[in-house]
Amino acid sequence: MQKIPLMLAKAGMTLARDVFRGDSPVGMPLCGKGTELTDSLIARFENMDAKTVYVAGHPVSEEGERSIDDLLRELDFRFSKTLQEPLNALLYNIYKAYLTKWMGGRQ
């Protein structure tokens, strides 16, 4: 899941969170999660003052964002003291798979 400004939203992306008027959780709900975005939907959000949307996966690369190699190197460092513990090794592998999947999900 990634939070992006509405101007970077493109048709074909999938909403990961509900969208509300004025981005306020107490605002009027505009669209439910799981919906695939279309150009007209994005235009409607713009009219209704929604400025950011949560989309599934990681479709937009942000400036200054770390690469998958950096992320994995940091992960290795964080686990460097505890990798010999079986439970921590398990968690390490889960995180490694998660990061790879997450970054691989980029379009």
Binding site: M1, N88, L91, I94
Partner: protein, 281 residues
Amino acid sequence: MTGKRSDLKKIIMDTKTLPTLPSVIHKLNSLSDNDKSSVQEMAKLVSSDQVISARILRLANSPSYGFYRVSTISNAMILLGVNVVKSLALSSSIFAIMEKDIVGLWEHSLGVGAAANLIARKLGLPECEEIATAGLLHDIGKVIISIKCSDAEKEILKLVRERQIYTMEAEREIIDTDHAEVGGWLSKCWFLPDKLSEPIAFHHDVAASKNHRIKTAVVHIADVLISASGFSNSGESFVPPIQKIAWDTLKLDEQLLAELVDEVEDKLVEVKNFSLEMMGD
């Protein structure tokens, strides 16, 4: 108890006030001015700040109020009334200055609170909100050490950097105690209920938790998950070892852990945004 330790204990027992991030207060004020906002909304906002949460819980649990033990912010808000909570929040806005390393800790606490809540719900445990509160407050000892013994804290951070050790180890070496124990003392003198004080005092030693081991185990696992995700800079560089007793108590398995990682990471996107928003104000 050695000299250093009892000195520190005295300093902490003397704690009357704690600093806090002021934007929570502004948000709380505007929320309480709005006729349409509910106690639940305000409680949710306040719960996102460990220091205000702690202060309100401390008040609600103090003998002068004479209430039963309260362990959730929404209960405390109902018992104390919105106006008391508001003035409490206002008075604490004096403590506007937050140092950078505390902001990291604040984010870490927010993350652990959210993760603890997620784990508790996923496992279908009772009293999810208490568990989340315990998660939010679990490192309150670090806040106290940083405020009350800033010199010692600098030494601790230096030692952690130089020797690449856990904060706990450095704390034991320099102040002869650690943040979990300090948090335990603090929750005792604030009359927090056991279900909060045990997870705070034993989140690094789950086996020592006798009455609320499940809650302590959840907070421990939540702490490990947030450290593993590298979510914020709480001064701790390394993932603590997962304690077998916590794993067994919660009957976790690989499948469950993988699902938790997915859900926690999703939640952290929101927590991060919330925290940036709060700091940007």
